[in-house]
Amino acid sequence: MAGERKIGAPILTVEGISLSFGGVKALQNVSFDVREHEIRAIIGPNGAGKSSMLNVINGVYHPQQGTIRYQGAEFHDMDSHQVARSGIARTFQNLALFKGMSVLDNIMTGRNLRMRSNLLLQALRIGPALREELEHRTVVENIIEFLEIQAYRKTPVGRLPYGLQKRVDLARALAMEPKVLLLDEPMAGMNLEEKQDMCRFILDVNDQFGTTIVLIEHDMGVVMDISDRVVVLDYGKKIGDGTPDAVRANQAVIDAYLGVSH
């Protein structure tokens, strides 16, 4: 039923990334690219280096070797907030929401980078500041509707069940209107129904906003259905890269997954 999505040129390229902590080699010479508007999955057994890869892209870790090119330019030694500023948003495997703040405030913080007016005007809520706040609020309300969390606007995030917190995490990342969205195990710890919902949201985000999505998952099943291309990591090395079907047929991948008991 779905028509053709326009998958574009590579927007993010990682080349020869190696990262080690002391003697532990977390990533060894990993290269792949992410094309604009695609859903790109990075999978692999536990400890394969998926999260390290994400943290490298996100600027939390700085690799010893290799380069990252984003939108044509190389970026070097950027810290997380600079990466965020350049249009890359992320969600967290172990939820890093502001638990004491309401759902609405959490998502509004995602707009922080785009706030322009000065403090005094903000406090008085007059003139351009009011207009700006309303604009941001409209964007946020659209996301709230999109992710179907209208019933929880005023609820402190810490009181929501886990599946909903994951949705708020996604909402906050979306509020940044990112070009590239990094999702760190968005389906971890969810039941089947919640997983299906999350898949639907990821597909809808990709479809509706054209957001490029890089998705890390430990569990192959769900991801294969929604990704355009898949990178497979094992012990910090890339062992497969291609369409879900190609990856499924790849002997090295089969061995890696069979070698790990689930």
Binding site: F98, G100, M101, T109, G110, N112
Partner: protein
């Protein structure tokens, strides 16, 4: 069932202590209210200093020993600058100086020490404390200076119809209380209603997440320390106009420690309520409990004001370590 009874018990004892002098007729109502108001007034000052502590602790996890020194430093700046210019100009310039101090602290102390142990940061703020004390005297001098707010100091007699003999209050105290309340209200609006306030709350909640959505920690720290500087300035001016600007301010400001223990380290409302409780409590204890102890145990008496707050804080650490309004860590599964 939550284990609330030790706190309830403690609260009950305090409450009885508060009411007893009045109920037993040991103190005439007018005098009693006077003591109460005096206690509240001191409490406001404790609250302001504690507020500075709590803000910084919440936003950056640093226990800022230098808060007292900042109060002294700000008061000195205002007092000395006011000798050469109108008071309002002195206050504005002092505020600018406090922002500069905040920026320097972030740049020279916090940033290099980021991701270090809490103890290292604590030691660093101790260093800042002594530096500010000393440097303040180097720059501004070490005499006792006056800050004159231009408000009549003569006490006013009010409520003569209600209490026999009326109540003596200081107009300056009233103004000070109003200013402090306005400051707290302003801060509340700032935190709840502005994007920067939201960012501050976000940083206080989770550093890493805040950073990943593009909130620059360094700038937030400068903002928080500047606010702490503003609070210190207000406290310094009020204090200085009441008692004069002198070195002992920094010592008295240490009373904020038991106050934040009482109120909870991360709670703004805790700092305020805690400050008022300590202020009233120690004054009441000094005036009414003191003589009783003197009579009963044949002691020299006096000095209760100096240790009351710490004993109270100790009791709180025993029964409710997270303080009155502090976060209790309940993990939902």
């Amino acid at each position: 069932m939550r284990r609330n009874w030790p706190v309830l018990l403690l609260g009950l004892v305090l409450l009885i202590g508060l009411i007893l002098p009045l109920a037993s007729g040991a103190a005439p109502a007018g005098f009693y209210v006077e003591v109460l108001l005096g206690g509240l007034m001191t409490g406001v000052l404790y609250s302001l200093v504690a507020l500075g502590f709590a803000l910084i602790f919440k936003a950056s996890g640093v226990f800022n020993f230098a808060q007292g020194a900042m109060v002294l430093f700000a008061a000195l700046a205002v007092a000395r600058l006011a000798e050469h210019m109108p008071l309002w100009a002195a206050i504005v310039i002092s505020l600018a100086i406090m922002v500069l101090v905040a920026w320097l602290i972030e740049r020279l102390v916090l940033r290099p020490l980021v991701n270090q142990e809490g103890v290292a940061l604590l030691m660093a703020t101790l260093g800042v404390t002594y530096f500010l004390d000393g440097f303040g005297q180097t720059v501004w001098g070490s005499d006792i200076y006056k800050i004159d707010l231009g408000i009549a100091k003569e006490p006013v007699m009010i409520l003569e119809q209600v209490f026999q003999g009326g109540i003596l209050v200081n107009k300056e105290d009233f103004v000070a209380a109003l200013v402090a309340a306005a400051l707290v209200a302003g801060l509340t609006i700032f935190f709840q209603k502005t994007a920067t306030g939201r960012a501050l709350r976000a940083v206080a909640d989770d550093h890493q997440a805040a950073q990943s959505i593009g909130i620059p920690l360094n700038r937030i720290w400068v903002v928080v320390w500047s606010i702490a500087g503003l609070v210190a300035l207000v406290a310094g001016v009020i204090w200085g106009s009441k008692l004069g600007v002198q070195f002992s301010i920094a010592q008295v400001a240490l009373k904020a420690l038991p106050v934040v223990i009482l109120g909870g380290f991360t709670s703004v409302s805790g700092a305020i309520v805690g400050g008022l409780i300590v202020g009233v409590g120690e004054k009441m204890a000094e005036v009414f409990l003191g003589p009783v102890l003197v009579k009963a145990f044949d002691l020299a008496g006096g000095g209760i004001e100096n240790w009351f707050a710490y004993v109270l804080a100790l009791l709180f650490l025993l029964v409710r370590p997270e303080g009155l309004f502090g976060e209790k860590h309940i993990d939902r599964v």
